[in-house]
């Protein structure tokens, strides 16, 4: 047992790992080898000269090996990054192509729907009951958002803050991502607009119906399962003179006015005398049946 008084305790004793690492940075084997060599040299055996070539050769070989390793590793990293980039690019291209295809199909569906409506009106005939049915269908379509509508209304624009952080979370409690618009915000504003007396609403050209979902996937907001990007424009057709003060007075509008100054979110309300809202895609009802028809059957 060593006497503790003989070797005074080092001040940095608690950091012995770091001390060891820096003090033994040079392999102690070099010192040992040098000592051994000097011991050998005191007993002269062989003159220097012939043994000088092999050490250099070995060092050169090893350094070449290290260079090859370094080059291969660097090339490998660069190549795998390239591969990842290529995958990403092809995915982006895929998404863009599919989005375009969806748009085309939606346009085709719109055209076909117009054809169906025309054929239906023709089929209903020109007598009194036919006209009454056609009028009822038209009224129902208007109310359920199956036709495009026009009229005066409000346009509410929501936008992320200028230099929004990316990050998910919509607590608005001073967390990361407070300066972005989320699905919940769009839901609140849409609900406030309905409450203020809006008769038809669309968000960035996606018409809201009773079955439209406003939700988010990752950082993007989906309306009717179509991804939207900011700024979000909510167009609401309705009685502007009643709607504007009612919306401005709503808790949601007041909250967003506060957010504008707190987090720099974009929030503006404008009147528009002539809004034009597109039709929504017809809901796909699989289980629901018309309660008035006794015979079931698919629609």
């Amino acid at each position: 047992m060593p006497d503790p008084a003989a070797t005074p305790r080092r001040v940095d004793g608690s950091m012995s790992l770091l001390v060891d690492m820096t003090e033994a940075a040079l392999d102690p084997a070099y010192a040992d080898a040098a000592r051994r060599r000097s011991e050998r040299l005191t007993r002269p055996e062989r003159p220097n000269g012939s043994g000088r070539r092999t050490p250099l050769l070995r060092a050169v070989t090893l350094l070449t090996l290290l260079g090859v390793l370094t080059g291969v590793a660097a090339a490998q990293v660069r190549r795998s990054a390239d591969a990842a980039g290529a995958v990403r690019r092809s995915l982006v291209a895929d998404v863009q192509r599919q989005t375009k295809e969806t748009d085309q199909l939606a346009a085709q569906a719109d055209a076909l729907r117009a054809q169906v409506a025309q054929a239906r009106d023709k089929g209903l005939g020109d007598d009194a009951s036919g006209r009454a049915l056609a009028a009822r269908v038209a009224a129902l379509e208007l109310a359920t958002g199956q036709t495009g509508v026009k009229g005066p209304g409000l346009v509410v624009t929501l936008n992320d803050a200028q230099n929004a952080n990316s990050g998910v979370g919509n607590g608005r409690g001073g967390q990361l991502g407070d300066d972005r618009i989320y699905d919940r915000d769009l839901q609140d504003v849409a609900n406030a607009l309905w409450a203020a007396g809006a008769e038809a609403i669309s968000i960035n050209g996606q018409r809201l119906t009773t079955l439209t979902a406003i939700r988010s996937a990752g950082e993007s907001v989906l309306v009717d399962f179509r991804p939207l990007s900011p700024p979000y424009r909510l167009s609401a057709v309705g009685d502007v003179d009643a709607m504007e003060p009612a919306f401005a007075d709503s808790a949601t509008a007041r909250r967003f006015t506060t957010y504008t100054s707190l987090y720099g979110l974009g929030f503006s309300v404008r009147r528009n005398a002539d809004l034009s809202l597109p039709a929504a895609a017809p809901p796909e009802l699989h289980a629901a049946r018309d309660a008035n028809t006794t015979t079931g059957g698919s629609p």
Partner: protein, 110 residues
């Protein structure tokens, strides 16, 4: 001078040839390079201290590479490969810096 040329030649060779590294060995390649660099910096410092010994250099080079690879391999098997490679890089990085500082003192006397 000749060793430095050898290093540059090796890098060029490695980049130009880019041989395919087997997938199983890929994660160990950067660690091996860092370990080898540690041995090289140690050798340069020893050379400047006047105690360079080629046998020690060869042994430390090869054992550094093998041990670093082995430690990371073991970590991979235990599910802590990422943390262990961080540890290896930190330890070797500190040594490289310390030796580089010693080399700097030798060369510039500052």
């Amino acid at each position: 001078m000749i060793p430095a040329l050898a290093l540059a030649f090796g890098v060029v060779l490695g980049v130009l040839m880019h041989p395919t590294v087997p997938d199983a060995l890929q994660p160990y390649l950067p660690i091996a390079v860092v370990a080898a660099l540690d041995a090289v910096f140690g050798a340069v410092r020893a050379q400047l201290d006047g105690i360079f010994d080629d046998r020690v250099f060869v042994v430390s080079f090869v054992s550094n590479v093998l041990v670093a690879g082995l430690v990371v391999f073991l970590g991979d098997q235990l599910g802590v490969g990422g943390q262990l490679s961080t540890g290896v890089v930190v330890v070797l990085g500190i040594r490289i810096f310390t030796n580089a500082a010693a080399i700097r003192r030798h060369v510039f006397r500052a």
